[in-house]
Assembly symmetry: C2
Homo-oligomer: 429 residues x 2
Amino acid sequence: MNETDSLNSAGLAATLRRIEAGECSAIDVINACFDRIETREPDVGAWQVRLSRTGYLHNYQARQDFYQQSLLKGLPVGIKDIIDTADMPTAMGSPIHQGRQPIEDATCVALIRAAGGIVLGKTVTTEFAYFRPGKTRNPHDLARTPGGSSSGSAAAVADAMVPVALGSQTAASVIRPAAYCGSVGYVGSRGEFSLRGGQPLAQSLDSLGLFARQVEDIQLLRAVLLRQSALAPQPALKPRRMLLCAGENVGDTAIDMNTALQQVAERLQQAGVDVIWLDAGTRLQQMVTHHGRIMAWEVCRNLVIESQQPELLSEPLQALMNDGLTMPRADYLTSLSAADSTRDWLWSQHDQVDAILAPAAPGVAPQGLEKTGAPHMSRPWQAMGLPVITLPGEVDRDGLPLGLQLIGRAREDDALLRLAAWFEQHIIR
Amino acid sequence: MNETDSLNSAGLAATLRRIEAGECSAIDVINACFDRIETREPDVGAWQVRLSRTGYLHNYQARQDFYQQSLLKGLPVGIKDIIDTADMPTAMGSPIHQGRQPIEDATCVALIRAAGGIVLGKTVTTEFAYFRPGKTRNPHDLARTPGGSSSGSAAAVADAMVPVALGSQTAASVIRPAAYCGSVGYVGSRGEFSLRGGQPLAQSLDSLGLFARQVEDIQLLRAVLLRQSALAPQPALKPRRMLLCAGENVGDTAIDMNTALQQVAERLQQAGVDVIWLDAGTRLQQMVTHHGRIMAWEVCRNLVIESQQPELLSEPLQALMNDGLTMPRADYLTSLSAADSTRDWLWSQHDQVDAILAPAAPGVAPQGLEKTGAPHMSRPWQAMGLPVITLPGEVDRDGLPLGLQLIGRAREDDALLRLAAWFEQHIIR
């Protein structure tokens, strides 16, 4: 790795420490990111719209004193194009909103700017954060999907174009693309962050998400978004007992994924962690169905302006909305209740475990760009409103990323990230 | 009541039936509303911005065929000025956003327009739906507050300027002004409606609200907002057992309010309904505190753009946000958990009751316009995410409105409205 590579491929917190130590400048890092983007963007296609290098440096220099004294030092951040920005269009991956220019920053964007982050650009999202893919390709294999819906954020961070990016998850839209692209992806507990200015898809499911290369970077961004002190990340925490969720509890998974989870289980036991294997019966498979129902009911009641232009909506989205419109309300209410009762069952049956470890996706990123992969491995946890983080690092026999996910208790996001930091240091390659 | 009065003071559903029957035209009703506004608006001050009569009729006539065939027939609707509208500014009661022109309708607005409602104007809100009042006066006594934060919507509906209006509630912002002004006010269960385009204050507490003159009008609007059939409202439902919550469970209430609740209890018993009096110990008083903490934590993490202009924020709002910024996160999490456990206690201890009846406010609207009254009577139910409806009709010895509130189980809004319709027909004067 040459000097330029290391400048743009290190984690956010590590880079900030180097800048503080005088080993490099923010402008060096910014230039390294733009070098990478210029080389790779024609292939990867992570960006919907972005600043030019000149424009970025102009913005930086216009407020250089502020940035130099700021927490984030003027380093670049990618923002999923479902999140409003006052200085760039937010088109939500849909021709309906081409060129749509919001009048305000989303709250999460305002917080990042106030902390000294600069929005380099808007990252590609699938259509309204649902299924229809954008132009993004998987940086590990351009013939494969990056996953969705936060396709551009996952790919841009994994491909070293920016250190961090924002996304959102309603089904699997952070955890899956992070797994496929090999970035760290974090989904906050339901209700954890302000979603003001993030265009909603389904209010009972939507969560803000973050992409980074190291868990400490997620901790840093989380502190910024919660207006908490970001000076010292909470230290890594070794779990005493882990609940492992084999893919079969939820749905189909690839052999390589099952092997990876098995190997991690062995490493955990060698490290002195108790490992329990979850037997959820059919509960999590049912949660996949319940999640889909909640989503269908709510999406057609959020995308109302858009449903007035059906000719500009993809077929899968039209089908989802039609399902929601024809669904009996009783089914929706049953699914909401099932999410609550399954969450209660899960933690009351396993009250001594620190977190759950499960496949983050069925396997590696599938071949082809016409779909973003199956979302079922995320649906149960998302329906239950739990915080989740993708841990990259495992690979299949061809070296493609195989992501695992660590799932915590609702609102215990801080503890989850401390556990994730321990996994990163001791368990995942 | 003369013909013009009855045209603009009847309920929405009743008016629609008259139009269908050919007894009057939509234009007659529209004109009656404008007559009333022209007479009363200089005193009441319900509107932040609104169409002129000419402008309204122009809009109506430009799409007359659509309106005549529509559910809502082109009748006027008021929209709280915290909810985005593409054709009128949305200033949120703050000088920071004076003239702020959203690029899109909120989803609730789009649904009402699609059903044939016409947005007559934006109704006055307190600053960001918190405490600092706007210009609105109570239509029953201009020297008294209309309550807040949905001040203009409550007053406009109670004063027969429009048949229905939208509001929002984070603490007491629908239930209290409805009680003070004498309109029916409904707050949906948490998560029930899309809040897209409604500017958020606190994501764990915000709910959409509706104002009308009859419960059947609320049922009609609710169907529109949920894209459900609005053809036949669900029939009134007599409760078998009611849980009555005397004000002392929550906090101070006036003698007249206590008397009103006692009298309603007697009428319920005469009607053959079992009445149980709630003994919540200190639980609901504690919920008042917990609600305040959740609100403080979240408001300062939503109003981020605005906190960058502190000189344009009111002192109470600054104080709330400062409380939120200095609050330990553990206190916030404790309050969230307390809301869940108190809700579980409430319904598990009283599993046979159909709903709860409680004072909707401490008493009648207080004298003076510098404050909007105390919110404590709503805070517990709002923290628990329950659906609530203000039932107007009771009055104090001076004839001023004394509102009661009916509180239902989470997500059982339909049942709550059926019970409310029965109260309206049989119990409340």
